[in-house]
């Protein structure tokens, strides 16, 4: 018996019971569709998150105060540290250093006000963080030196205060009551893994130090953003930064009082989290595929009982065990294969719809259906059909011909 004939025969006997076969297939369809949809949505979320991390800038390193827990009284990161890192002889792998002071403040204009994050930044912040202005200009050295009262507004802040995102240069807003002239509007970035980059304002670091965000010492900053000269140089840069800080802070060996994180660290963490999420979602969906498989087994058992006489006849005519086994396994595999194919289509449809809904709600998840997902689902569903078809088929194959022929 060749496979093609068995396939046609399986189609024929399945189509004899269309409703029953259809319902059995439906179980597999739902299972496969759920797996496909969940995995592709998970992948889409991963792409979105990693994309937004990459959007922060390129080849970035983050330097924070505080290291391992045993270290007491970690020394703060200072502007002096930043200057040392910017020295090309001390740290040849470092391209730019952007110190940041971070705080919150009430920004108001006329009757409108909003509580937002206020960052004191240097001109290096623009290229390092990959931010630009849509109108006006970025903070420059002159503003820094002159401790100018100028501010760059995120688009959301601009919307809240003025109800528009353009034509605002030269207006005056108040931050914690102090007047600041609007220097420019920041490019819209969308949500990110850390904070909403559109809901913030930037002022010169020097202005922040003296007037808004006061720290215990003058030259202390909250964070350094460091850009390495190239992607390959990131580990090297990390090492150079650590060396500089160790000697400047005079730390004991093995007790760093600072932390250097690379963009890759954030990416890895995000990938791990979304990967677990995807597996978790896919696992739950796989359970429904399992239930579909049990449906196949159930229907195949019924079918074997119904066709006992037919099996007896086939055996009388010379069918060996393997012939009967193949016949019933083909039927269950056809059920699951057809279910799998329809399920892939449905799953794709679901993920597209979810993507659309997410896009409509400003949370861009772009569901990604890979060939591997499709192959996996097809393979898995066929395997389910084979596995759950095996027991009924084996039962059919082991029937005694005499008994089976006598069965009413």
């Amino acid at each position: 018996m060749n496979l093609w004939t068995s396939f046609l025969e399986a189609l024929e006997s399945l189509s004899a019971n269309k409703l029953r076969s259809g319902l059995t297939i439906l179980g597999i369809v739902i299972g496969v569709a759920a797996v496909i949809a969940m995995i592709s949505i998970g992948r889409g979320a991963e792409n979105t998150i990693t994309g937004s991390i990459q959007g922060i800038g390129t080849n970035l390193l983050f330097v924070f105060r505080g290291g391992s827990e045993e270290v007491r009284n970690p020394k703060p990161i200072t502007l002096g540290d930043a200057e040392a890192m910017a020295d090309p002889f001390l740290a040849p792998s470092v391209a730019e250093v952007a110190p940041v002071l971070q705080g919150d403040g009430k920004v108001s204009y006329g009757g409108e006000s909003t509580l937002t994050s206020v960052s004191g930044v240097t001109p290096q912040y623009g290229p390092v963080r990959n931010v630009a202005v849509t109108e006006g200009e970025f903070i420059n050295e002159e503003h820094s030196l002159g401790r100018a009262s100028v501010v760059l507004l995120g688009t959301q802040v601009a919307e809240k205060l003025f109800g528009r995102k353009a034509g605002l240069v030269g207006e005056t807003v108040r931050i914690e009551g102090q007047p600041f002239r609007v220097l420019g509007i920041l490019e819209e970035k969308g949500g990110s893994a850390f904070a909403n980059q559109d809901d913030q304002v930037l002022i010169p670091l020097t202005t922040a130090q003296t007037r808004l965000i006061r720290r215990s010492t003058r030259d202390r900053v909250d964070m350094l953003l460091v850009q390495a000269v190239s992607a390959q140089a990131v580990p090297q840069a990390s090492e150079e930064i650590a060396q500089i800080l160790r000697s400047r802070h005079q730390t004991e060996i093995g007790a760093d009082d600072f932390t250097v994180l690379t963009q890759q660290d954030f990416l890895d963490t995000a990938r791990t989290i979304t990967g677990v999420l995807t597996i978790f979602l896919g696992g739950i969906a796989a359970i429904s595929l399992l239930v579909g498989g049990i449906g196949i087994m159930n229907i195949m058992l019924v079918s074997v009982t119904e066709r006992t006489r037919e099996i007896g006849l086939r055996k009388a005519l010379g069918a060996r065990k393997i012939d009967i086994l193949v016949q019933f396994l083909t039927e269950s595999s056809v059920l699951s294969l057809v279910g799998g194919l329809i399920g892939i289509l449905l799953g794709w449809l679901i993920s597209v719809v979810v993507g659309r809904i997410a896009a409509a709600n400003d949370a861009a998840i772009n569901p990604a259906i890979g060939l591997d997902t499709v192959l996996l689902a097809t393979l898995f569903s066929t395997a389910v059909g084979l596995f759950f078809g095996l027991y009924p088929a084996n039962r059919a194959a082991s029937l005694e011909p005499v008994e089976a022929l006598r069965y009413e």
Partner: protein, 226 residues
């Protein structure tokens, strides 16, 4: 080599029903010659069906020797028995036992599929159907055929692999007397044309009169006619 197509020596068959042992055959011996037409008769419970199952290689004797067409069958595996049935035995059942969803042609092709015949299956099946007078009905399904026609399809299916014996179990039992008579004539003419040994299990004396020899079974042994 003997002329016997069937040689059975001292067959016994014991069924275990719980604790009770049922002796269906008690040392039955029997020979049937090549080309012979034989009827096997006996009241119900005589062991007639058991004998038929063993002759048709559907079942094994508990003890004794059975040789079919010079092949020792008594202790073969299930799959070897299936192969013997496929090549050497053509079955004709009382209730026809056709696959309801398959055409006459597909039904007749079935034994050849299990025999592994690849090419020429369709032509051979068509020829077999023509030889039973159904050349114009090959694409009909069983429910589109009369009882007599269905039994003809079953006979075509039985002879398509050119078996050594055709084993018919009450072949006219479900037919009216006229179609029954036609089926009997068909079986007899196949025997004449092809020399196929014909064994008919029946309790109908009208059927038995057509056969050259009548074997009567009673209480698991041959009573008369061996």
């Amino acid at each position: 080599m003997s002329d016997w197509v069937i040689e059975a020596e001292n067959l016994t068959k014991i069924y275990k029903m719980g604790d009770i042992e049922v002796h269906a055959l008690c040392g039955l011996s029997l020979q049937i010659a090549q080309g012979e037409i034989v009827s096997i008769m006996g009241p119900s419970g005589s062991g007639k069906s058991t004998l038929m199952n063993i002759i048709g290689c559907l079942d094994r004797p508990t003890s004794g020797e059975y040789i079919l067409d010079s092949e020792r069958v008594s202790d073969l595996s299930d799959d070897q028995l299936a192969s013997i049935r496929n090549r050497k035995v053509g079955f004709v059942f009382q209730s026809f036992n056709l696959l309801p969803r398959a055409t006459a042609l597909a039904n007749v092709e079935l034994p050849m599929r299990y025999a592994g015949v690849g090419r020429g299956r369709r032509e051979r099946a068509r020829a077999a159907l023509e030889s039973v007078g159904l050349g114009d009905r090959i694409h009909h399904r069983p429910n589109e055929l009369s009882g007599g026609q269905q039994q003809r399809v079953a006979i075509a299916r039985a002879l398509v692999n050119e078996p050594a014996i055709i084993l018919a179990d009450e072949p006219t039992g479900n037919l009216d007397s006229r179609s029954g008579e036609e089926i009997m004539q068909l079986l007899l003419s196949l025997n004449r044309q092809r020399g196929t040994t014909l064994i008919i299990v029946t309790h109908d004396p009208d059927v038995a009169v057509h056969t050259q020899r009548s074997i009567r079974i009673r209480d698991g042994v041959v009573e008369d006619g061996s």
